[in-house]
């Protein structure tokens, strides 16, 4: 869903004079969205910018993304980065067709990560 949102935003920004580069880890969704420029990182969702705690990996991916912005000259180019996650077991979950809904309920009130964040939002005046 996030990849679809990004596709729509990319097309809007580009139509309004701003060049964009989409980073993506769901190749089919970003491809269907036909975005101007993209890099594909073949990692499990939630790691679009690299592996946790791996500063070398994260910097290399950020560098590749920024360079793609400058180097892509053909619309709808998707550059496949060579980075590999290592343990490939995540692909079984990603491609599973088991009937399972991992989404949170569609609450309409703010869902703070920590209870103390609610107090901080009140203290800052962001939340009445």
């Amino acid at each position: 869903m996030c990849h679809q949102t990004v596709s729509l935003v990319a097309r809007h920004l580009e139509a309004h004079g701003l060049p964009t580069l989409c980073m993506a880890s769901a190749r089919d969704i970003i491809s269907a969205g036909r975005v101007p420029r993209a890099v594909f990182i073949d990692y499990p969702l939630g790691h679009t910018c690299g592996k946790p705690g791996d500063r070398v990996d994260q910097l290399a991916i950020a560098r590749a993304a920024v360079q793609a912005l400058a180097n892509v000259s053909q619309p709808e180019t998707i550059i496949d980065l060579a980075h590999t996650w290592g343990d490939e077991a995540w692909r079984d979950d990603a491609s599973s067709t088991r009937a399972e809904d991992t989404r949170q309920p569609r609450d309409e009130s703010p869902q703070f990560q920590f209870a103390a964040d609610l107090d901080a939002a009140r203290a800052s005046g962001a939340l009445a």
Binding site: L21, A32, L45, P75, Q104
Partner: protein, 155 residues
């Protein structure tokens, strides 16, 4: 997309109609060298700064404006598919690469990072609301930040 459709069909849902563009994308050429480019960032990961209001999960189309210099310890997350955020909650760089981008600015590979980066909760089911609410808000935010180009980071 096929796996997701199969999963939810088994749960009794009508298959979601994903956005499939029927035309080539609009295109704005990059004219500045990277070393002189001021970069804007949008991540759909649902990050918010301590002191800000968290996202809600039903088609929340709002944005959060976060200082690019924020400490990682002040970043929080709320997202309808937060099962994917276990690692990002430990290391926000997985979804919001501020440290990496600052590093590229320091080395001169990138001109500058906008003063603020932006997030949204990308799990918005209504494509109409993304087009009419999220996209124009991002465009306005990026104009305010006076950026030359935008990095878009979906989760």
């Amino acid at each position: 997309m096929r796996a997701i459709a199969a999963r939810y069909t088994k749960l009794g849902y009508t298959p979601y109609r994903w956005f499939a563009a029927d035309s080539a994308p609009p295109w704005t050429p990059v004219t500045r060298p990277l070393g002189a480019t001021r970069l804007g960032v949008l991540s759909t990961c649902g990050a918010y700064a301590l002191g800000q209001v968290a996202y809600h999960y039903k088609d929340d189309t709002s944005l959060r404006r976060i200082p690019a210099a924020i400490a990682a310890s002040e970043l929080r997350f709320s997202h309808i598919t937060e099962n994917y955020l276990v690692d990002a909650k430990r290391d926000p760089e997985c979804m919001l690469p501020l440290r990496a981008l600052h590093s590229l600015v320091q080395s001169g590979e990138l001109g500058a990072l906008a003063a603020h980066v932006y997030t949204c909760m990308g799990g918005v089911y209504s494509q109409r609301r993304v087009r009419e609410e999220v996209a124009p808000a991002v465009a306005a935010a990026m104009r305010d930040e006076a950026v030359d180009a935008v990095l878009l980071i979906p989760m």
